[in-house]
């Protein structure tokens, strides 16, 4: 069994795909080193990330397949699914063969596997655009902690930067220990190490109370349907929702 092991970055994954092509390898799995568990049946190849190779794959996908395919493998990668790496390789092999029409092969497993992951990530991205909750801190920074199931935060930087263009904010992926930062001019990503307690602005709890009050009152009691509520807004996201506490 041949395993490709990469550093976990998107560049690393694209480098692995480049190597598989040019070494004419057919790896069984392409996995990030953090989630790799060794056993003695596995033949390991450690991929050394090279931006040059990654860029070549990127350009080839745009030229020979489509922009949509590029976005598709990006989303699939962000799903962190255990089979994402190998699914992407298989999808690209097929894509390089059939070209632009690859996304019409909806019933083909190689396409279908990617589409399933894309749907999951796109859905979470849209949900998060709505359910991220900022808290105003004492230093006038708006801070939003969240634990997404997929690695979707990086897809939301532009959305919030366009929208909240005159406020400094941080969206913190607590699970993955990084965040999206915005300083009123540009947004960027950076690791976050929490070593201090969060101090709220003196007005913050006042607005949280108002919001909870609003949330309680807008419910129509004779239509109560908690199942419908959690279908739309799964419980795993409730932890950081002001109104669900």
């Amino acid at each position: 069994m041949l395993y490709y092991i990469y550093d976990g970055s998107f560049d690393g994954l694209l480098t692995a795909i480049y190597d598989a092509y040019y070494n004419k390898d057919f790896p069984e799995q392409i996995v990030p080193q953090d989630s790799f568990t060794d056993n003695f049946l596995i033949n390991k190849v450690y991929i050394r990330t090279e931006e040059e190779k990654s860029r070549k794959v990127h350009d080839a996908v745009l030229q020979k397949i489509s922009r949509r395919a590029m976005a598709g493998i990006m989303y699939a990668y962000l799903s962190e699914d255990e089979n994402a790496g190998i699914s992407i390789l298989e999808y690209l092999r097929f894509g390089f063969k059939v070209g632009r029409t690859v996304d019409s092969y909806l019933a083909d497993d190689r396409v279908n596997n990617i589409n399933r992951l894309v749907t999951k990530v796109a859905r979470e991205k849209h949900l998060l655009a709505g359910i991220i909750r900022f808290r105003l801190l004492h230093n006038n920074i708006y801070y939003a902690p969240i634990e997404p199931q997929y690695n979707t935060l990086c897809l939301l930087g532009k959305h919030f930067a366009d929208r909240m263009s005159d406020q400094i904010f941080v969206i913190h992926d607590v699970k993955r220990s990084y965040g999206v930062f915005y300083d009123k001019t540009k947004w960027f990503m950076s690791d976050i190490e929490m070593n201090k307690d969060i101090v709220l602005h003196e007005n913050e709890l006042f607005y949280q109370e108002l919001w909870k009050r609003y949330f309680d009152n807008i419910t129509i009691r004779s239509r109560i349907n908690p199942k419908l509520q959690s279908n739309h807004m799964p419980k795993k996201y409730w932890k950081y929702l002001i109104e669900m506490k």
Binding site: F134, I218, R221
Partner: protein, 427 residues
């Protein structure tokens, strides 16, 4: 009165407005401003009744001069009353928006002092938000029936969506339950908004800088179950609202008993299933190419509560089926029960590269529960022991597979109609 109390009173009164949609507008943020609109709309939370919160849905005041029987805010009702100042409202909206609680504001109001006075207050509020606070998020405002043209037109320049609630689907019902309102007073502002939108679209072609006018379109709401009006009447009304008034949406609101006036029906809970059927039919009108006459007629003026409108239509029109998935055009596919807009698009896309089989359909994510009775793949029915082809058996299969929880309903069918195989040998 403090803000906490006001929110309680004024959101309580606003909640029977169902619309919370924030879609259809692509308003951009301005430099140094706050907010923009997302064309797809974004839901920010869901309340325990399963409805989404997208906008801060609130009344400016619930002091009302009208006494409409179906309404919580009717002047004769003994409820606490409150009014926001414009500052309070603006402050609340901005602070909720900055915390990403909401997508924008849905501002409505009871009719306080006079229609013009109320409309003026609404206009002032949205003007303050847009011009002084530089707020560019979504705003939906109610047009108050009876307010002057000028005020309504002026308001249209600042908002993304405007709506006038028809509430009661006929002139007679209005007379019975809202004697101070007339059909004309409701229709007039709708016509006004419509011509404003059309004028904007025409001028936009000539001048790029034409100021926006209600870019998210207008909508309305009909109450279902407060009067005797049947589904056919309601659907016909919606149909003409879509065609003549170019409405974006008609919302249906199952009547929630808020009063026991003798002119109102005595019901224990809101007719949710009926509301659901009307929404399904509404979608069929807007996205599936159906017209109301195909779904209902004078002999059958109400929807079957057990069966969705599309399945009902298909069973009445079995001569049009089965449909061959690999050949039928898009609109024919859309008429198959269980196949929606997404599924039909996928089929059309998928069959470009290869003939589709039932297994392929499953991979395309198409649910065959309903569709299997109405389609063939490569000329063959779904590979199941027996796919019934007569109307009665198909209907019963659909009902059985729906796994209807309400036992009472299922027992109304006779044992023979549930198991037609016993009599016609189909099993």
């Amino acid at each position: 009165m403090n803000l906490n109390e006001k929110i309680k009173i004024l959101s309580d009164s606003a909640k029977y407005d169902v619309s919370c949609s924030s879609s259809g507008s692509s308003r951009k943020n301005k430099k140094g401003g706050i907010g923009n609109a997302a064309p797809s709309g974004i839901c920010h939370s869901w309340t325990p009744d399963g409805r989404c919160i997208s906008l801060l849905k609130i009344l400016l005041t619930n002091y009302c001069i009208y006494d409409c029987k179906y309404c919580v805010n009717r002047s004769s009702n003994d409820v606490p009353r409150a009014a926001f100042t414009i500052d309070e409202l603006v402050n609340l909206t901005i602070n909720f928006y900055r915390r990403n609680y909401i997508e924008g504001l849905f501002l409505s109001s009871a009719v306080c002092v006079s229609p013009d006075h109320t409309m003026e207050l609404l206009l002032k509020s949205v003007k303050r938000l847009r011009e002084e606070v530089n707020f560019n998020g979504y705003i939906h405002v109610k047009a108050i029936p009876g307010a002057s043209n000028k005020l309504i037109e002026e308001t249209g320049k600042y908002v993304d969506r405007m709506s006038v609630n028809i509430e009661l689907p006929s002139g007679e019902s209005l007379k019975l339950l809202a004697p101070q309102k007339t059909k004309e007073s409701i229709i007039k502002p709708m016509g006004l908004i419509k011509s404003g939108i059309i004028q904007y679209q025409e001028e936009k072609l000539k001048f790029k800088s034409t100021p926006q006018f209600v870019p998210g379109g207008q909508s309305t709401q009909l109450i279902v179950g407060a009067t005797k009006d049947n589904d056919l009447k309601i659907l016909k009304l919606s149909e003409s609202l879509y065609s003549s008034y170019k409405l974006k949406r008609v919302y249906y609101s199952a009547y929630v008993p808020v009063s026991n006036h003798p002119n109102l029906p005595a019901i224990s809970g809101p007719p949710l299933l009926r509301e659901h059927r009307l929404y399904q039919a509404d979608w069929l009108l807007r996205f599936y190419g159906f017209n109301s006459g195909e779904l209902l007629n004078e002999e059958n003026p109400n929807f079957d509560e057990l069966l969705d409108p599309k399945s009902g239509w298909a069973i009445r029109n079995l001569d049009k089926f089965p449909v061959e998935v690999n050949k039928a055009d898009y609109y024919t596919l859309l008429r198959v029960p269980g196949i929606g807009v997404k599924s039909a698009q996928r089929i059309v896309q998928g069959r470009r590269v290869s003939m589709l089989d039932f297994d392929d359909l499953k991979k395309l994510g198409i649910v065959l529960k309903r569709a299997k009775y109405f389609i063939t793949c490569k000329g063959r029915y779904f590979p199941q022991k027996s796919i019934p082809t007569n109307a009665v058996s198909i209907k019963n299969r659909l009902l059985l597979e729906d796994n209807i929880k309400n036992r009472g309903n299922i027992e109304q069918l006779s044992i023979f109609s549930l198991f037609p195989g016993i009599t016609d040998g189909e099993f």
